[in-house]
């Protein structure tokens, strides 16, 4: 009697959360799809003119902005995150690993506006001073995001590396392999699917991040000539204009969100597929 009640309650909560997700999807699509249909999907995705006042809704500059910032973040965040994961899982003594792991977890707990503020106060002036351009740039966004995705990457990759059976590591070392040979030839390949998942989830985190990015990238809707020039990401576009947009303009922002959503879904599918392949 009590059992069935609990079961029903659990089922009900699961149902509510699924329903909420479905409702959000339906809502975004119902707003976004008509506009995309009207503007034309090619025009919407590939036109570089974003001029809502004159009914021009092309998000190409923001697609480029999002990709640039995200890829930039991965270029330095992934190697750093992997190095940290390998160090924590394989090399550091339990004590050091414990301290460093909690520090990485702390990184995950810092609100993104604080990252943005740090970027604004330190990274933007640094780029302006020593590299060039206005400082507000794709590069600044990539640097901040690279730090922000570290906890995601390290948590998952570290677990994946730790899950590699001890027999593999010992078997390799017992053949006379060095520590590094064992890590690079046995441990990392064996943890491959988890590592891919870590990277893709980090990528999802980067592409979806908003606040910190708005604060440091300059938000100009132009295709940048170099990484030290300003860019606007899809997320920034939504958050910057949602406050005053109406009519088609508002719909276009929903459509931007929809594109973002599709990106994230694709990334998640990649994760699921890679985890399956690893089994």
């Amino acid at each position: 009697m009590k059992e069935t009640l609990i079961e029903k309650l659990l089922f009900f909560s699961a149902l509510v959360s699924i329903l909420a997700i479905i409702l959000i999807i339906i809502f975004i699509c119902s707003q976004g799809i008509p506009l995309v249909a009207r503007v034309g999907i090619k025009n919407f995705l590939f036109s570089t003119t974003w001029d809502p006042a004159n009914g021009q809704f092309g998000i190409a500059t923001m697609l480029v902005g999002s990709l640039l910032v995200t890829i930039g973040a991965l270029i330095w965040g992934v190697p750093l995150g992997m190095a940290l994961s390998i160090f924590l899982a394989e090399i550091a003594s339990p004590r050091v690993a414990g301290i460093m792991t909690s520090m990485v977890e702390l990184l995950a707990g810092i609100p993104s506006v604080v990252y943005g503020f740090f970027g604004l106060a330190v990274i933007v002036p640094f780029i302006r001073e020593y590299i060039g351009g206005p400082g507000f740039s794709a590069l600044a966004g990539a640097i901040i995001l690279g730090i922000m995705i570290l906890p995601t990457i390290v948590n998952i990759a570290c677990d994946a590396i730790k899950a590699v059976p001890r027999e593999y590591t010992e078997g390799s070392l017992a053949l006379g392999a060095t520590r590094w040979q064992t890590i690079s030839r046995i441990v990392l390949p064996a943890a491959r699917s988890g590592i891919i998942a870590a990277i893709v989830l980090g990528m999802g985190r980067a592409i979806g991040e908003t606040m910190a990015v708005v604060m440091v990238t300059g938000n100009v809707t132009r295709i940048p000539g170099s990484i030290v020039e300003p860019v606007r990401t899809m997320t920034s576009n939504v958050v910057l204009e949602m406050g005053y947009a109406s009519g088609d303009h508002q719909l276009a922002l929903f459509a931007t969100g929809m594109v973002l959503f599709i990106f994230i879904v694709i990334l998640n599918l990649v994760v699921t597929a890679s985890l399956k392949a690893g089994e």
Binding site: E170, G171, S172, L173, L175, G176, R185, P189
Partner: protein, 252 residues
């Protein structure tokens, strides 16, 4: 006893504060099979792993005393651990092929030691698999994943992997305990063949197996070496009361 492949003197091993082995003295003869028996937790694995310095991979272990292999103390400061482990291979209880092809499993050892020529590797792989009595079963699917092999086949693959780097000594920690009787008996046959070329030290919980495969047997209890004798003697006329109790099944 001048044919000792391994000479152990005053070996103490500690896990943090806990002393797992107490002053072990033993000479293990070359080209013989030496069995280590004793109740669970008596230190057999610890002893075995001290012979190629695997214990030091566990945080907080400490080793005292001497283990002399090939005339050198393997715990001396200047010992080349890589070379030692090449010389002293080990097979664990759980059959664990690496998650790669059969070929790559066997070629792994030679590759990390710098052999890259395809022809040489092919030769080593074939020779090692033949020595491990696995060649006939896998020669048509060398590039299939090793994880698809049965437990017994994986165990022989691991042995081939060990043989590929040309060791002098092979340590085996309960290699047959996860195998079905047929696979286990194949493994025993293999051990009998290998001892003509290699010195073998095997841990087993199975008294019949110890009696069948080994030339000498050492009985461990609570971290002490209680008795070490030629196998027939130990099983037929044990010197120590505790050995007798153990082999007749009165405890452990």
């Amino acid at each position: 006893m001048n044919s000792a492949a391994i000479m152990v003197r005053g070996l103490n091993v500690f896990y943090q504060q806990y002393q797992a082995l107490h002053h072990i003295d033993i000479d293990i003869e070359s080209n013989k099979v030496t069995a280590l028996i004793g109740p669970s937790g008596c230190g057999k694995s610890t002893f075995l792993r001290s012979l190629n310095r695997l214990n030091e991979l566990i945080e907080g272990t400490r080793t005292e005393g001497q283990v002399v292999i090939d005339g050198v103390d393997i715990y001396a400061e200047d010992t080349d651990v890589v070379k030692l482990r090449k010389q002293v291979g080990i097979v664990f209880q759980k059959p664990s092929a690496f998650p790669m092809s059969i070929y790559d499993n066997v070629a792994y050892g030679p590759r990390i030691h710098g052999v890259n020529k395809r022809m040489v590797l092919d030769e080593i792989v074939e020779k090692s698999l033949k020595q491990a009595n696995l060649w006939e079963e896998v020669k048509d699917r060398l590039h299939a994943s090793a994880l698809r092999l049965s437990g017994g086949q994986q165990q022989r693959l691991v042995i081939a992997r060990v043989l590929s780097v040309n060791p002098a000594i092979i340590l085996m920690d309960e290699p047959a305990s996860a195998l079905d009787p047929i696979s286990a008996s194949k493994l025993e046959d293999l051990i009998a063949e290998l001892k003509t070329t290699y010195t073998i030290v095997i841990v087993t919980h199975n008294m019949q197996q110890a009696a069948r495969v080994s030339d000498a047997t050492a009985f461990f209890l609570n971290g002490h070496l209680i008795e070490y004798q030629p196998t027939e003697k130990l099983f037929v006329h044990p010197r120590d009361k505790r050995t007798e109790d153990y082999i007749t099944g009165r405890f452990g």
